[in-house]
Symmetry: D2
Subunit: 451 residues, 4 copies
């Protein structure tokens, strides 16, 4: 266990990724902070229920925070007790004088730990939602700006049919929105617990308390009490939250991957914003690498990998074992800090994403109009040409080198469609269906999303 | 690709696990069945929107099912076309005569595939929920039966405080219920899509159709249309469903693990029901192995492992690539069939789970009453003995060999608590807190859950 | 459990993926086949050690195979006994007459099951290595054919420096080779076990047998005995094999992804071979989708996901629990059949992979020679121009529209390099370093690899 | 990106788990340290090959370390350049004066990064092996001490047959040994690379260098050069190492789980060593929780979860993309530091693991001798009683309450076995097979293992 003098930063969430705000929620000290907060509320509530003197409760409430109780002292004590909550209690006791004997009454360690955890996760979710909202807004803004810019749609990496750039990102925005909506829902299920060593409230009952006591504590903390618990709250909620964050990570991965693909030298429709003094490659100065998007795709793998321990943590033995504990210490900061980082990056990219309309145009015409064959086909059959025949005809013309030219000079087609009409059909912007309307609908759906 | 004559069963969901009903939903043929169903509804809707003749639509609707279109024929065609949906369309065409030219109009393959998939997953979820409800009912029944039977509660594998057997399983029931509730919620988000090759409805628009067309199709199929889509519906919903099933799997793993632990030779509080001719061990006839619960714990690992491909499937490129497809073909049947199997097994076990009250009683007393030290402690401090002193006193007595005896003859304690009162305190059933009330509350909460 | 009359194919390895040979190794019946094989060898060895009559052993040996013992019969019995090995023993007994009493002597079920499993996995590995060798050979052949074809090398999706197409695939070939080499090594560690119910050989010792008995059995089966075991052989070896297959899957994913990327409409340097009657897209006939490579990338996700249950299977309780069993029934066929499918596909693709030299050339020149800036830079500094100055100069020229032209007319450069020399420097094929030599080295390294 | 003033510890490997030595290998600063080391060797080698002046090379070599180049300065520069290697080069340049122009010649960033990574991983593996050897030695010592202490063997959580405690841990030791052996093998495959921006050595060739240059660098660093590479070394080796560490984690999980199970209140055969001032439970002072073993089981989940990103990192695009980078920054320290922690813990536990012989004895007799039924059965049939009859007889007696007593007074048995002989058969220590011999063999196998 810890205690070294020299400060080392080992994990990249400790020195490289994530915003300061998010790291503050999950740093070592914060764990202590939330636990002290719960102890304070416990004392206060005990007094309200007439179980301990108001004055002493007041002292505890006032001192149960990081200003009075120092992490360093707790860690010092823990080296002897080898039990972090007991160490916290002793350290709190040291600053509460005579009030110390009223600390932690009726509680078991995990009443504190799990309730504190719920508070911490809630703050984490709130910040994630806030960051997510910013990314969503950037994405909607981008969709709005380019809702009419026609680009080629691709399936299997192949040119398929035209869409608009705004429509492409409206799809992303809707996914982002849905993912955030689910995370917001998850907050509703966050539960604390104050049910004692095996979940039966035995020691509370003995002191003449009933379940209103737990409810009162949770109300003060703005949490729900678990409907039933053992020594610990069920781990399912944590697992679901981490799964839902991993789903969000998947969406973000998709957007980042899209930017990377559209920034390829051969495609070059989009590019990440590029700092003035930024160096792309030490050996090849001409390159503009989509490294922010690559970074997102990389950290997403770590977020996703945390799903597994979260799921394995559910099946604890009997009224609890400890095998969830250390794993949660790793998983929670990792997931929240890396997602915070990825969301922040994404928002930054989307805000200033560079668009190259000339390349977009060039790419559109890369198949010489062949991607509009479907449009011509539909029109031909609509106007009475047998489907099979028109299908075969288009296939033949498709094989010719200059598709567009051949199309216009084909006599069979001319019998059904005038040159003027054909020109209209062969205009990409006339075959984007409801791209613009859909984009607008999605913008409307999410623009007022409140995280 | 396939085509062998000799039928081999390779994967255990093909020969060993899962109910017939669940396998029927996910067998190869069913995929075809749901796709034909969508083609039928498409034709019908096209006719209603005046785009194809009613009569011909009627023929398609009538023949778009497994009675007319045989899987064998589709597979034969697929060998040439190497595209399963095209093969399906050709096979359907073969049985629709002249109506065949109206098949699949305006649609892209994935309008059919993804909408059919949503229908299949919905049926799968419905069956899973039905099975889940049966397991939940068994669990609630067990809780009810044993709500007052006092057993030792354990944390870290160590005796902690008494609870009741019903309370233990009420915790499980509440988890089961919550997991099922979430899966039921997930159904609401199931979406079909009918938006064409890149999600813009271009070919529909050309035929004078608008988005009411998609809505009409989905309404007939009792599905929601995706708010926006590319060639495919977003994969997030599938990922969330599989995550939520994996969470349920975690709960089931926990229950199965508990049964295995409580059936240990040294504990022997519970035992799986045991068939008359069943053989436990070929070498050791005396053993009664909890093999059904072990089987659950084993298959749960497979269910959990499917979360990963489901999450990796989200980040498709551009307006779709195909890398989700084969993975979904594996993941969906695996997850649904194995969970169906596990839920069925669990329900069977819980229904006839054997309880050994005498062993339960013996185990309760294993620490000689030491687990009630907390109760005595609380009472002593309540009656005025300083907390520190009472703590030290109890610790001293705890070290003696015969805790209970020493307790009763201790003079210090006698000053605060009479023998009669002490006897009451040292009665396990008086230190189970609100075990019974909580159990009843949970039973009430879930007994009318409608899946 | 099974037994339905109607045959359903549920999992895609049962109807869609994998070669017949591989499915035969892992089908339900084969498990029985390998187990019978072990029982036969057991009887034979018991006779050789003088513990049972040679004649009776001969009968068992002769009948312990699928010709005599039918899977259907075993499953019928298993429905009663609910123990698959006991059912196998009974079914074998039924066909061995009076010799039946000598069946399975001294053995515990898992002596048979685990030894049979090792045989099965060995056959699976052998076939995988054979398939892998074919893919490796195709890859080496492709490298050889295109070892001198200059293509642009890309990092971060951006044009970097020229390489050769053969060099690119030589990198892949080397990875394939190393992966196969490791799998070949893994075979050496495959172990059977014949150590009885808890690994102590107690019943063998009682019959006067010592560990030479186990050695004799394993020798006949061409396996090593585990150095020590419990009721089961350690699960680590299975885990390592599945990890190593997952690593191979990663390599194959990389190759398939590369083909998909190089087949993009905008890049179009490579294309999967395309069947004559194959349909690419039902709506867009002009497309040529890399669907085989997409399929590989999809199934790879499933293979990778099997690593988790394999790792979770290691930590069995005490002298074994059963929680590895069902999971292995899923994992092994899934991993082997899907990898067999992927390797087969890859070999087919690589054998006829279409190369478009004109597109390769066009892409090379896409940056107008800028990718050779490094070469000019190096030459300039070599010839005495200060590094910083030359760096700045090149950077300036890079910004001009026509890089190549500007370079040739730049007077500063002309002071150091003649036009003729510059032309040579600006020829892509002169800046491919040791691409050809490396390619040849790798071909030499692996061409005689014996699987 | 980082840069905050206030030092926060967020991830538990930064404040809670792992030894100082291991954290030092993987802390942020060390990454820089290894990279500087490679730059130094590069300069030295360039001089030896006559490409830069010896004196200047000497300056670079001397200053390329943390004494001269400070992490703080590198991070400061990186904020502008947003490229960590370029920042490192600039910072190194600042301390090398005129020699600075010879820094990094012919190299691409990843020549440095990947070679440095191989050095770091090698140091990590060496320390892990050293720690592993200590745990292995503790395990062998425990096996030796208790090689003759008879304990009940358990399968499916049920009493099966007697073994010895030493034999149980000899099984664990053999697994540990094999896992370590594989990790030691993995070291052989660790490779650096010095092949330039796309792996072709183009810039080296231009300077008149050939592949001997790379070999010379690697020789100095005691690494192998990759047989072929792109911009980066293949990620397969890292993946394999992390898989092999995850396998080791599985073994350690198994041992820790075994200790937890054997420390259960009802079993109580073993107990973790317990510190004097350590507090087991704040509410229940009598408990002795196996929290160190629980901690191991918890951290193992995190180690295992790192396998996934490591496998996903293999399939980089083209001649590399960056999506492995951030993930490796998380995975490597996490895996190495947590495994270091777990191995250290395990060694400590095994060294002072408390054994309770009286409880072991009590448990052995828990089935009243029934676990020896197999021994009696074997003896009866050996002496001529028909197998079926003896089987039935034993089964009958097994059902009686007092098995042992009934056995001794049974007349049928008495016809075959004398009381004296029966007593010997019914002595547990006579049915432990080759437990002791196997234990000794395993001790011999591993005691001189050199990590």
């Amino acid at each position: 266990m810890g205690g070294e003098k020299i400060k080392m930063a080992v994990h990249p969430i400790d020195y490289r990724y994530g915003s300061r705000e998010m790291r503050e929620i999950f740093e070592e000290r914060s764990r202590l902070k939330y636990q002290l907060m719960v102890e304070g509320v416990l004392a206060e509530t005990l007094a309200e229920f007439g179980k301990i003197p108001k004055k002493q409760a007041g002292i505890i409430k006032k001192r149960a925070n990081l200003k009075f109780v120092k992490l360093e002292r707790v860690k010092e004590i823990e080296k002897e007790t080898r039990h972090d909550v007991v160490a916290m209690l002793k350290a709190l006791g040291e600053v509460c004088g005579k009030a110390s004997k009223y600390i932690h009454l009726t509680a078991t360690s995990y009443d504190i730990v799990d309730t504190a955890l719920a508070l911490q996760v809630k703050d984490g979710l709130n910040l994630l939602l806030k960051k997510g909202k910013i990314a969503l807004t950037s994405c909607l803004g981008f969709s709005q700006r380019y809702k009419k810019l026609v680009v080629i749609g691709r399936t299997h990496g192949q040119h398929a049919l035209p869409i608009t750039l705004g429509f492409k990102f409206a799809n992303f925005a809707d996914k982002l929105g849905e993912d955030l909506f689910r995370l917001k829902e998850d907050k509703k299920y966050l539960q604390g617990k104050f049910s004692g060593a095996v979940g039966t409230y035995a020691s509370q009952k003995m002191l003449g308390l009933n379940q209103n006591f737990e409810k009162a504590i949770m109300k003060k903390l703005n949490l729900l009490p678990a409907d039933i618990s053992t020594q610990v709250a069920p781990r399912e909620n944590l697992a679901r939250i981490i799964c839902d964050i991993a789903v969000l990570a998947g969406t973000i991965e998709q957007i980042a991957k899209e930017i990377r693909n559209l920034q390829r030298t051969e495609i070059a429709e989009l590019a990440e914003p590029f700092g003035k003094n930024q160096v792309g490659s030490s050996a090849m100065p001409q390159k503009r690498n989509p490294w922010e998007s690559e970074n997102i795709c990389s950290n997403v793998k770590i977020v996703r990998s945390c799903v597994f321990p979260a799921l394995e943590n559910i099946a604890l033995e009997h009224e609890r074992d400890l095998t969830n504990s250390a794993a949660e210490r790793s998983v929670l900061p990792t997931v929240f800090v890396l997602m915070d980082d990825a969301l922040g990056r994404l928002a930054r990219i989307l805000k200033k994403l560079v668009v190259f309309p000339e390349n977009i145009k060039r790419n559109l015409e890369l198949t010489g109009g062949r991607v509009l064959a479907e449009a011509v086909l539909t029109e031909l059959t609509k106007r009475g040409m047998p489907r099979l025949a028109s299908h075969q005809l288009l296939r033949e013309i498709s094989k010719k080198k200059n598709f567009r030219e051949e199309l216009f000079k084909n006599k069979e087609i001319a019998r059904y469609i005038s040159q003027k009409e054909l020109k209209k059909i062969m205009d990409y912007k006339n075959y984007i269906g409801f791209s613009v309307e859909k984009t607008e609908k999605i913008i409307k759906k999410w623009k007022n999303f409140s995280p």
